[in-house]
Symmetry: C2
Subunit: 151 residues, 2 copies
């Protein structure tokens, strides 16, 4: 409901039409402070605006992501998740064992980001970055048995 207007501007300026479907998808993402899957977005939009199709969600998300208004992260949940592209950014530490997700500050990555740009000319999309590994809890009880999953 807040940055909503500017976002809608960006859409138009890039030469795209503003449809109620696109607008509602954007609104739901902008109103949420967590990452949402396509299906969750569909469900939330439909609460207020039932005229929305799954395909339209995917097509809107593709567009919004490409315009940089929304970012996409694979947190290992078997589907991709979306967030508004906010500033400042944050990142995610994803534990492979217990699947927990912990947020960390963007500043941890600033050095790396600068170096990638200066050394390689590569502009890293370092927001909503997912780093996989083992969290503190799971590290302590690691490599004890051949069991497949701990959850």
């Amino acid at each position: 409901m807040t940055q909503h207007l500017e976002l809608v501007q960006s859409l138009r300026q890039a030469g795209h039409r503003l449809t109620p479907q696109r607008e509602s998808v954007l609104a739901v993402i902008a109103d949420s402070h967590e990452h949402l899957s396509a299906e969750e977005i569909l469900a939330r939009v439909r609460k207020r605006y039932p005229y929305l199709n799954k395909s339209a969600v995917y097509r809107s998300l593709e567009l919004l992501t490409e315009l940089g208004l929304v970012t996409l992260t694979d947190l290992g949940h078997g589907r991709v998740e979306y967030e508004l592209h906010r500033h400042p950014h944050h990142h995610h530490l994803v534990c492979r064992k217990c699947k927990s997700v912990q947020q960390i500050d963007h500043r941890l990555f600033q050095n790396l980001q600068k170096k990638l740009e200066s050394d390689f000319g590569f502009r890293a999309d370092l927001d909503h970055f997912a780093i996989f590994g083992t969290c503190r809890k799971c590290s302590t009880r690691t490599a004890k048995n051949p069991k497949r999953h701990s959850h």
Copy 2:
């Protein structure tokens, strides 16, 4: 064919059986210096050892990954890819526009890795790390038109 033996040891020590299927999957990964999808692995194994099923590949990969012998990376190709867990590590810069993949040295990440461990107790699996962004070439011709994909 090289580290093969040690790898097979690890399997046994973790309490798993050594089947020809598992061994051949491991051999193919160990012999390759590129990242391979499950399907590519299946195809390569079958050249020499036709008695292999898709499910066995997936189940072997799950196990090998869990044992840390193999690492899994999502390079945005719509499927996960596997590599032998080698030292020293390297990482991948993946361009969202042209889909190019550029390898970079593991040392760029050492500071970050240490900090994640000291600050959060998080052991990041920072090998075969995929960083998405825009490569130098694509940066220069960016944001010119509303076209979806540039490839």
